[in-house]
Symmetry: C2
Subunit: 133 residues, 2 copies
DNA sequence: CTTGCCCTTCCAGCAACTGGAAGCTTATAT
DNA sequence: ATATAAGCTTCCAGTTGCTGGAAGGGCAAG
């Protein structure tokens, strides 16, 4: 099938599929006589795998490792779990970071009148965070 | 003062300060006779403002708007609040997104033995998310 | 006078795409 | 049959927010 069809089935834009090929994340597919990329169901399967991995926030590099493990029938599930566990930890850190940031921002927003007057605790807080602590 | 001193006082790396100048976020400072950038306390004050704004996750473009409002003594605090409120909403969305993603990933990680055997629910979940629902 | 640090500019690269141009081929409509 | 549109190809550039490095000049200490 052409890239457009593979795109529909995998849920990845054609541009992204080509990009993944360029960067080596996915192997180049066969080519038809007219030069068009020719994808198999297996190819699409892997593209879907990558889309789901990226959707869970794995980096392209991590996706590459996961895909290798997926294709290796002698893999050790511990290797997969290690990658996932590390990513989970990073997500937890990111969430924590955002929540702290949200808390500060929420406080600032709450204390600002938000009217036509110029005095603004948000700007004061940005100029000098200590002033709102 | 030179850029190194401004860097220490503002908490921004010299590279970043120059970058902010290049992109128009902050106005070019005066220059000494030897061509070195010459920062005033006011300049440093604005650099700190930008660092705090960026630290709260505002984009450089939003920082630019906030800085303009900070410098405008006839500003309306409602304009500031609108920017902050919008950003807060985006943070909330981001947190929600990450939490959902975390939940899925956590579930996958928990169901994987993580040993020397090849069977792996994580890979199965990435290949076909429906299989783990 | 040389060592070493600070400053200058400019160019390149990171992640992960996305948009657009120029030029094919194929499908559809008249 | 032909005109047009859609889909495919490659390649280059831009996005966001820096960061690293090279090449060269300034300046103080030993």
């Amino acid at each position: 099938m052409n890239i457009g069809e593979a795109s529909k089935l995998s849920g990845l834009p054609p541009k992204t599929i080509r990009y993944y090929e360029d960067t080596g994340l996915i192997a180049p597919p066969a080519r038809a006589e007219n030069g068009y990329r020719n994808y198999t169901d297996t190819d699409v399967h892997k593209l879907r795998f990558v889309r789901h991995s990226r959707g869970l926030g794995f980096s392209v590099d991590e996706c590459s490792q996961l895909l290798s493990l997926y294709e290796d029938k002698d893999r050790q599930s511990g290797d997969v779990k290690a990658i996932a566990q590390k990513h989970l930890t990073e997500i937890d850190e990111k969430i924590k970071e955002l929540q702290e940031l949200r808390s500060t921002l929420h406080h600032l927003v709450n204390t600002c009148h938000g009217d036509g007057r110029p005095d603004c605790p948000i700007l004061e807080g940005l100029a000098d965070p200590a002033s709102v602590q």
